[in-house]
Amino acid sequence: MDFSYGPEYDDFRGELKGFLAEHWPAGGGGEGESWEDMVERAARFRAQAVEQGYLLRWVPRQYGGSEQEPDAVKAAIIREEFHRTRAPDEPRGIGLMMLVPTLLERGEEWQKEKFVPATVAGDYKWCQGYSEPGSGSDLASLRTRGELVGDEWVINGQKIWTTNAIDADYMFCLCRTEPDVPKHAGISYLLVPMKQPGVEVRPLKQMNGGQEFNEIFLTDARTPADWIVGKRGEGWLVSRTTLKHERAGIGNALGPVNAFQGVVQLAKKTLRAGRPAIEDPEVRQRLAAIEGYVRSHEYSSHRQTSRAFRGKDLGRVSTMSKLISTNIGSEIAKLSLDLLGDEGMIDPLAQGESAESLGASRSWLTQYMFSLGIAIAGGTANIQRNVIGERGLGLPRDYYAQRSSGK
């Protein structure tokens, strides 16, 4: 076990600090810098940071990444220093976190060349078109049709809950292309341009007031015949790859670790009986109890990363990351609401007088609700429990799921 911030890491941090001081100096572009100039400067900086191996460490060099050995300690140092200097980070959107790993695992060479570099540079934005009004947990029942007409797919149907669809350039989308075979076998994974007449996006307002997700109406939308990942009818298999990365993304321990640090700060700032809440024994008990889960998840993740890199079996814990993370998220959310006290009655989007006191509490109130969205997105907690029970613990498959898949 080799896991200390040894001298090797001090050197690494030193080099990184030097790099940041040189390429992202404080005050950077000066007073008069225009937005366009700033964007350009950030893009130049990112390219240099990739060149040096600080960003996109898991993406191969030939597709615009820096291809470095996974190292949680280095990754933590990079995060800290980038955060400290407010240097531009990776464009961690749906494209980078979900599509890129899918293409790297399953795409054709020309697809990787066309889509990966532009996506990792933040030039192509993506959305994930899986869920439909009638197909959520039972995703494989989806009905959006894709028909090959000449050298194009023609797509008709509806998608829903599609995060960031409004800004997306492209959608990776599950369509039924083989209507006459059992449901899992009839699906294909298509890449679809969003900016075309056959695609209409309508924002949906969420309970936390945000508008990240949308409905998409597809009416004779078109995409080239070879913009398909995997073969016809292999879409379900390909989508499992994406889903694995979505769940791993939500399951990443970094979110809970940061959220936990946040709630500790909140407990220092808020008052109970006139004293900082963090001095209250009950609050201390709850914080330490949550931290037990947070640190378990953090070090369990480091173990999994280390094992994955060496090609070792991850064991059943690999099916659990998403539920572990969202369980922690909900405990943190509940504690934050208790700490906020009366402010928990004010609409986080409130304007005017009632909102004046809110300040930093706004984001906690929004997060209190958003923690539920995260628990649902990418497969609900119950669906996770099915997966953990069946694939992790080897229990028998669900009767209804089995029957409806025709097996």
Binding site: F3, S300, H302, S306, L323, R385, I388
Partner: protein
């Protein structure tokens, strides 16, 4: 970075698991559990022959010179197997001497503890739940008097590492001025007793920092023990769900039970990382050592106890019987949870140590 066990460590765990499976399978654990002593001398002798008495004893004193992480890994595997006997306390006492003993003390005791020729234990708890070094009242000196409770294998031990007022430690050999009242503990494979000292000859062991270090090591080892215990409880419940039939199918088909089992797994699986890091920090990251030890002890012993409750429920009526083996690990969890202080005590310590 490589936060994973080495090949040697994996081999250590496999060797122990294999040895336990051969020499002390569940049927034998049951015999010990229902027996009078909670101890199996032949099994203990075998563990000593494997070198487990001296894992953390330096090589020059006849040990393997390994670290607390290795000891913790061994502890996990033994707990999973339900191994009876004094391994925890014996190892902790040997570690205390190895960390803080004078040359003379090391030479006198460590080779014999490593070989198993002598058996050692630790005596910390005083009346009313005073487990922590800061709370000890027993006056130090060349002759010591007073009582210590919940001393593991008290009847069998040749040597005791005894906590004294001011957060110190003393070595007391069985014999003059030392008597033991054994009692029926809930964990019947790790029996305990009250140690009564009446002007017993004692030697000071190490300085004040040593007792705190030994407490941290104890937390790590109890966490590792609780982790192995919880894993066993989970596996028992899952195996039962694959065998037991109701309504014409194995009960693992029922989603309510499947989800309960999944939740049990989610509660315990990641905790492996926590006890590993706590053990690693003990050896290599001084600033995290005490805090992560406290966190691991509190968190994992609590998880193991809850898994024990869940595992009983998952077995239905048979789970509630004396005959069912679930109770053996359930009670192991009860000891891991309470020994050295309940989870809330260590959560409060973790909060203080965080500087909150």
């Amino acid at each position: 970075m490589n936060f994973d066990t080495s090949e040697e460590q994996e081999l250590l765990q496999e060797t122990i698991a294999q040895f336990v499976a051969n020499e002390c399978p569940a049927t034998r654990v049951r015999e010990i559990f229902d027996g009078d002593t909670g101890h199996d001398p032949a099994f203990w002798k075998g563990l000593m022959e494997l070198g487990l008495g001296g894992l953390v004893v330096p090589e020059r004193f006849g040990g393997a010179g390994l670290e607390v992480i290795d000891l913790a890994l061994a502890t996990e595997t033994l707990a999973y197997g339900g191994a009876p006997g004094p391994f925890f306390a014996h190892s902790l006492a040997a570690l205390a001497i190895a960390l803080g003993g004078s040359d003379a003390q090391c030479e006198r005791w460590l080779p014999r503890l490593a070989s198993g020729e002598a058996l050692a234990s630790v005596a910390f708890a005083e009346a009313d739940g005073c487990w922590q070094p800061e709370e000890w009242q027993l006056a130090p000196g060349l002759k010591v008097s007073g009582a210590k409770h919940f001393v593991p294998s008290a009847e069998l031990a040749d040597l005791f590492v005894v906590g004294t007022a001011g957060g110190g430690l003393a070595l007391v050999a069985a014999g003059e001025g030392v008597s033991v009242e054994a009692y029926e503990g809930v964990d019947r494979v790790r029996r305990m007793g009250t140690l009564r000292l009446d002007a017993a000859p004692a030697e000071v062991l190490g300085d004040a920092a040593l007792a705190a270090r030994v407490r941290d090591a104890a937390c790590v080892l109890l966490a590792a023990d609780a982790f192995g215990t919880a894993q066993r409880l989970l596996d028992m419940a899952v195996d039962y769900a694959k065998q037991r039939e109701q309504f014409g199918v194995t009960i693992g088909h029922f989603q309510a039970l499947k989800h309960q089992l999944a939740d049990m797994a989610v509660e315990i699986e990641p905790a492996r990382g926590l006890y590993w890091y706590a053990a690693h920090a003990f050896d290599h990251v001084p600033e995290d050592s005490a805090r992560y030890a406290a966190l691991a002890k509190a968190h994992i012993s609590e998880r193991a106890m809850q898994l024990g409750r869940d595992a009983v429920e998952a077995h239905g009526g048979i789970g509630f019987t004396w005959e069912c083996d679930v109770q053996i690990w359930f009670k192991r969890a009860m000891l891991d949870r309470a020994w050295l202080g309940t989870p809330d005590v260590h959560r409060a310590r973790a909060a203080d140590l965080a500087g909150w």
